[in-house]
Symmetry: D3
Subunit: 189 residues, 6 copies
């Protein structure tokens, strides 16, 4: 019953897609059975598609001290604060799968503050939430708190970058009126 | 008298910089006489440097209906709302130069709402400011208002993308405690 | 893995429960297989249990123009705005079942504004959200808008009462640190 | 000169009132000389009248560690934060009478933070005000602060329940456009 | 029982007061029987006393289209929004007396939006409330609305100036921890 | 290119100005080469002109522990928080000149929190910013913090009074739609 259009600005016909984008479509169909709407929406503007995916991969798949699940948890927590329909749904599914604790994933999708978090995740999401505030500028004490919780300078950078980049992504979803594919809702449960 | 350190996490020695980044340093020294601190801060993490600059160039230098000055005006307006010390200063300088109206640039850096804007710029910055709100999701009526003001779908996408991407950038400056180079203050006056 | 304690103030031993409360426990076990934590938390104070449940039933099961699903949609929308871990989870499950559209239910649990709502539900949830604002007082024009959308005076009263009563309930869950039973997460999918 | 109508949805003719509600009218006329508008408004829907009054009495007249004046102080403080015309006026009068310190009552009706409160009342109203915030969820430290101020777990529950229930009541007054009876203004001075 | 000290910074001994200030004390004792704490607080700094009172008199007693009661209504509405204990109490008393409608005065002291206002007063207080917002800048349409409601340009200036000046005064009361004289509470009832 | 009109309500012809106001015009032309628009706007109402300037001079030029530059820093910080186009521009110029550190002045005009402040200025501007909040009332601890930073009671009064008075002035500029003279932008650089 949900409207699943990827974007209010439409999507390009698959026939004419550049090879690299067509290959992303193909890989997604192979791995999860469908093409997430974020790809179908961004495909309309290939340069944006590539810049977005390249940055996404640096943040979400680059080497570093944060696990894949931790990175997704940051995305879900921030997207929930920004009430982003697409990102909470799509990354909520990813967190259920990668985090191997679907209940915790659903809790973070509602409110990380009242989720049953470990101290490490609580410190991480508290900082991500701070980054998400308008007018954010970190005090030295906040950085020290994170170091005391075991995060390196690069980890702190990554938490901030993931939180802030998905604040950008949330707003793009809001501008494009991006709707979640219905497949996401049942994934990882 | 200002503290000009580029980042609370330090900067890498120039000696060992990868060639592509060293070349960005060199070009900046040639063109404006110094290396903006955003480059010196991001150089610590070359993959982030490259992803950021690639996306930046798509947004700020890509083809499209928005002039260079208009794109900088969006950055300045959003950065002012987010009170970003680095971005208001650096992009304020860029807008004074590219927009060829330094007084208007300084007005936008204080408050775009009370700046002496053309109707086109007012519509553009009003939407950029909306995108910058937490929980943003555009209504169809907002999109129609922009179309009526002469913006194409790609222009609307670009306004949203520039506004949201620099909200990300503002937050990174706040995480890194990035300080403006003192050269920016006098540029373009 | 989730902490499922019903309340930070504990729960009474089942042995000594008053008959009417014991009977609620029994009926829930029969119907859904477990006792929702809200009952286990309130059982500590039987007078509160009874007053809460009596009012709840007037609002959620009383005669009137709003369907059961519509009433749950109001609860979910308001609880999401108040980020209530317990209520979004428990009433989200109820809405998935009663509304027979689990995707729509999950959308309302994230953000009713960007859910795929009918005009009637949009008018209903927009007013529920207004009621939920601090300092709410309805203008005559808001009431007229609802009447124009087909709601009777009693319906409008019910929308307001359900929205406001669950704002009360959300706050009690926040005071008691009430956690959702893990059974809720899979119900109705 | 004030408009004293009890509700924008009107009130039922007294002739046909159910006995229990008619008896509430009679008792109020006997005790204070008039029928508070909240009764006249709710009389339109007898089931709501009964559920509201039953819960009200559990909270305001039930056994417990909070005095009657303390409970009214919570109602007045929360209603003032919610700017509820009816509740500040009616419960302000009750607090002037029950608290035996009309000046303090009027101060709480303006701003409990700058009222001349005892440490016990300050702790109590600070928590009530927290409960009243959107998205409220109590931290363990807040509960400890209240325990250190001498409040039992049931007292803390009662503070939260009174604060949250009258947040509900404030919103109902806002939905019904309930106006205070003019008799309230001079009571207890 | 209320603490009536005029200021956390103390008050000067009456013996050594400058003649003009001593004369203000004397006139107040003659007219209302006591010296309002605002005078006793400001007397500590005679230059501030004089500048404040001079501006106050221009705004509150100068010629113009707004009646004395209307000016006090603006003060009470803004002071209530700013939750100023001293100003709501002292100017609330003044409005009860000058406006000759004590119930209406008390309603404005709680919430001008739900008070039984004439259209002229509603337009006036709506604009005063706008002026009181942080970041206020009037749009041309707001000015036109006021003109259509019968206010001259000087009247509009006066509404804004009174609203903004008492926002200043509210903050000074908050800085000095100024407490209302207990005599105010019963005046004008 | 900027619209430099002093006020939406116009300015009086210079020919008929009262002597004291004409003399202010003359002195400004002599000292800085032009008449700041705030004088041209207020000249329309001589009593307001005089009351404003008298209070201004008590606050900005009176004896006391705060330097002229410190007083201007308070004005700039508060005006930036209130986004006042006229005041940030005009007092920003004054701070660049009086403070003899134009870069610091421009930083305060963007965001005092991330400016390179001395501990004394940070304490001073933090309190000014608190005063600027709606509903401000100082706690005893805030006053103690300022005393510990070396401020006398009169200094604390002055910080509060300057912050609050310019909050009033910012709102008047917003009501009058006061525009900065273009000469201000280059002053003090």
């Amino acid at each position: 019953m949900a409207d699943e259009r990827p974007s209010r600005f439409g999507e390009p016909p698959e026939a004419g897609l550049p090879d690299d984008i067509a290959s992303v479509y193909a890989k997604n169909r192979e791995r999860i059975g469908f093409v997430p709407n974020v790809f179908r929406a961004y495909a309309k503007r290939p340069d944006h598609f590539r810049a977005f995916m390249a940055y996404h991969d640096v943040l979400m798949k680059g080497e570093g001290g944060l696990s894949r699940a931790e990175r997704e948890a940051i995305v879900v927590a921030v997207s929930a604060e920004n009430k982003c329909q697409y990102c909470v749904t799509a990354h909520g599914a990813a967190l259920r799968i990668l985090g191997k604790d679907p209940v915790l994933a659903d809790q973070i999708a509602i409110n990380w503050r009242t989720a049953a978090l470990s101290p490490r995740w609580r410190a991480m999401l508290a900082f991500a939430s701070r980054v998400n505030e308008p007018g954010f500028a970190a005090g030295d004490d906040e950085i020290e708190t994170l170091r005391a919780a075991g995060f390196s300078d690069d980890d702190i950078w990554d938490i901030a970058a993931i939180a802030a980049f998905f604040g950008f992504s949330n707003r793009m979803a809001g501008a494009l009126d991006m709707r979640p594919n219905s497949e996401f809702y049942a994934m990882g449960r």
